[in-house]
Every structure is written in C-alpha cells, then in structure tokens.
Amino acid sequence: MTDYTILDSKFSSLTEACMISKNYYKLIVVTLILISNYIDEIGIKLSIRPRKKDNENIFNYMKLINAIFSDNLKIKIFEDDHIEKIKHFETKFHKYESCLTPNFVKDIINLYYEIRKINVPNLHEVMDEDQNFAISSDIRFCSNFLLNKNVNKRKNPESNLKEYILYKINEKQREIENNLRIKGYNKNLLKQALYLKKLKNTTKSEKSGKTIVSGPLKNNLNYQRSINELVGFLLIGISSVLFMIGSAILWLAITFPEYTSILSVLLLVFFFPGFLLVFLYWINFKKY
C-alpha cells in the first residue's frame, strides 16, 4: 500500500526542484501519473474493473465509477467539476506545448490534492466493532430474541428469521441511501452501505457455521475464551482413559463371570471417577 506521507514529501521535493529548473513538463507528467494512480486505486478498492490504459482516459474512467455508484447507491464519487478539469488537463497537455506554464502546473497540482481528499473504503476492509454494532445491533437483537423465545427449535425458525433479518437489512439500507442522497458523499455511510450489502449476501447464502476471525487468531475474544477449554479437555482425557480401562475390565467380568465379585471393586474404582470428571466438565466448561 502506498505510503502517502513519503510520497507527498518526495513530490514536494520534486516540485521545488522542477520549479527552480523550470522543467514544468516533467512536473505535469508526474502529477498526471499520480492522479492516474490514485484514480486506479479508488476504482480497484470499489471493485470496479481496472482502467484500460491503452484506450481509456482518466476522465472516462471517473465517469464510469460515478455511473456505477449512481445506479447502485445514488451517489457520485467524483465531482463533475473535477472530471471536467481532468479532461481539460489531459487533452490540453497533449495538444499544446504552450500550456507548460507555472499556473498550469499549479492548477494540476491543486487538482491532484483535491482528488486525494476523496477517501473510499476498501471493500475487503473489516468494519470496526463500533460501526458493526451500530448497524446490526437491532438485527442481532431480533435474531437473538427470536432464537431464545422459540421453544421448539426443530420447527425450523431459520427461514422466518432469515426473512426478518433481510427485511431489517433492507430497511437499514434504504435509510443509509437516503442519508447519502441528502448529505452527499460520506466515507462512513458508504462503508456501512457496502457492509450491509455483504451482510445481505451472506444471510441469503448457506454458512459453514464457523466463527469468522479477522486479524490474528490470538486477538479474537472467542479464541481467548476457548483456551480455557484445555483444562476441560484434560478432565475429558482422564475420564476417557478411566472409561476405556473400565470397559476392558467390564468385558473381562462378562467373559469370566466367576471373577465378577473381585472385579466389581475395580469397576467402581474406574467408572465412578470417570463419571465424576464428566460431571465436573459439564458443570464448569460446557458453557464455552
């Protein structure tokens, strides 16, 4: 990922050197490249196909991004003004050498930094916990409520629950779209809209039932709690061994009934602690 702090520092040095040497051509080309790179990054982050550099201008690509988002979420990523300026710079620069003036350079650099202010979410970026909770808290509440309330789980409440969750997701989506239309482009609202779209898709599709972990496993709270299960597994391991040996002795007693009286004590010695340990496990660890 591009480190923009370093890039800006270097670009600033280059600008200074080129303005002194009056090498405006170099500066304009570099700025256009940086604009092109940034627009490419925006497009890829928003899951738009990359720009076809052989036959597609930067401004046409920007129009494409705007068209897609206008159709889906009723928002524009780029201002029309910026698109027009880019069009002006791209076409004029190739045609006229006389545009190589300090003012032209200044305008194009300003435009670059205007476009840099546009900060789009990466579709593959994880929502932070607060935003996640804010969006889906009522959806999660409803799903928890319905699952706990339903006495007979075998009556398959999943289909009803799914419908309800999808209804709530659609409701939330409409709310966000309205906000985007009224308040204009907002990175967080766009992020929420994209997240809800993903949530909708995953709710519709079959899930493996696994807990999804983003980031390192050791930082996951569920995993941290799962580590406590190790002590429980030790109890289960000991009880397994006791049951195995106890079963072998039981089989001996069945095969040689004359020794049952002798072996009965051993059966008690092995089975009773085994059951006790299972009981202890059930009381203390089953909740995990």
């Binding site: 591009t2 270097k10 040095s13 280059l14 002194i20 040497s21 090498n23 051509y25 170099k26 080309v29 570099v30 256009l32 490249i33 940086l34 092109s36 790179n37 490419d40 890829i44 982050k45 990359p50 550099k53 597609e56 201008n57 930067i58 190739h94 593959h124 970026e125 994880v126 493996s208 696994k210 807990t211 999804i212 972990v213 983003s214 980031g215 390192p216 496993l217 050791k218 569920n222 941290q224 799962s226 580590i227 406590n228 299960e229 190790l230 002590v231 597994f233 030790l234 289960i236 391991g237 397994s240 061994v241 195995m244 040996i245 079963s247 072998a248 002795i249 089989w251 001996l252 040689f256």
Partner: protein
Amino acid sequence: MTNINIKQIFKGLCLVGLILLFISLFFDWYSFSYENSSGQIFVSWVYNPLFEWSSDLAISGSNLELMPNNLNIPILISIIFIGSLIFTGYVILYKDPEKERKLQSLTYYAYGNFLTLVLSSFYIISFPAVYLLQEGLFYPYILYEDYQTGITISYLFGPGYYIQVLGFVLSFPYIVFYLRIIEKFQNKDNDVSVVIDKYINNQQDNIDLDKLIANEKLKLKGLNELEEVELLKFKDVIR
C-alpha cells in the same frame, strides 16, 4: 495465569505425552509369573508390543510349557502409530494455529493428530480386552493363589501400559483443542487485502521519484541527463 501461558503449558504437556507414548513401546506392557510356596519364581513372561513375549528365566521346563502364545498385534499398527507420533510432534511444534494465516489449511493436520489419539486408544482398550483375554490372561492386577499346590500366579499390567495411558492423558487436551479450533474458527480472507494491495501496485504506473529528484538536482548543477527519454514513455500511458 494468562490464557497464553495455559496454552503453552498444555502444548508442553502434549509434547511430553507424545514422547511417553513413543517410549512406552519399548517397555513391558504385561507380565505374568508363577511363584511356588517357597517364594521362588519358576515361570515369568513379559510382553512388549514390538518384541512379543520374553523371559528373564531360562526358556525350558515349566517356563517353556507355560509360555503364552504370541498375541500377534499387527506390527503395521505399531509402525503407523510411530509415524503418527512423529507427525503429531511436527504439527504441534511447527503448525501453530495462532501463527497460521489460513486456518482451513490445518484441517488435515488436525485430523492426523487425532489419529494418534485413536491409535493410542486402540492400544489401551484392545490390548487387554481383545488380545490378552483371548489367551486367558487377566488384568489389570490379579493375584491367584492355589492353596493346594501353594502356587501363586500373578497377572499384571507392566510399566509400558501405564506409560501409554499417561501419554494419552497428557497429549489428549491439546490435540482435541487443536481440532476444535480448526473446526470452530475460520480466517476472514485477510489474504485478499494483501492480494488487493499487490494488484493495485501492479495496475499503477511505477514512478521513481527519487531518481527524478536526483536528476533534476543534478540538472540544476549543470550536468546532462537522459531522463526525458524515460519520461516520454509515460506520455503514452496518460492519453
């Protein structure tokens, strides 16, 4: 005690358990002996799963007469067991789920580890219930005194069997925990963000600002440079 410490402790115990499971194969698992009224042992046999029956006494007379039949535990199981122990040791040491980027890739390792437990269980339960019993040998510790002849017969599990049991108990928690984690958790496709970053870098035009800055500064010092030629190739990129 923090969770990480608990995990490390059980991981260590698991490794100790695996070592015990391995060395148990070289100890005696079962012994039976006949002792006369004067306390002299005249029949003594010990069993090892790899080497079958052996005796400290001379293999003649009563000792030879009362020699039990070979139990014929398939040697293949022992070989697979040793292989699975080595495999599990490798997985425990080098395939930590916390360090793995894709948990799903550890699924087969987790099931391979579980095979170790299954084979150990096979030894613990089937050795006495199937193999010993078919020869009429008792367990876990039976002392039979014949008052008429004054002979005492003892049947008992050897240290190898108890080491096997201990090894099972020590290795069980971490192996089951490992499997549980693989079954319960799944990485969000973090690899995708790395792939996306790489893809973005590949799509963007690489521009060496350091070189451009250096050349411009050299130019200011009046030296010639050929970088306009390089820069021309970018002109085609921006149409």
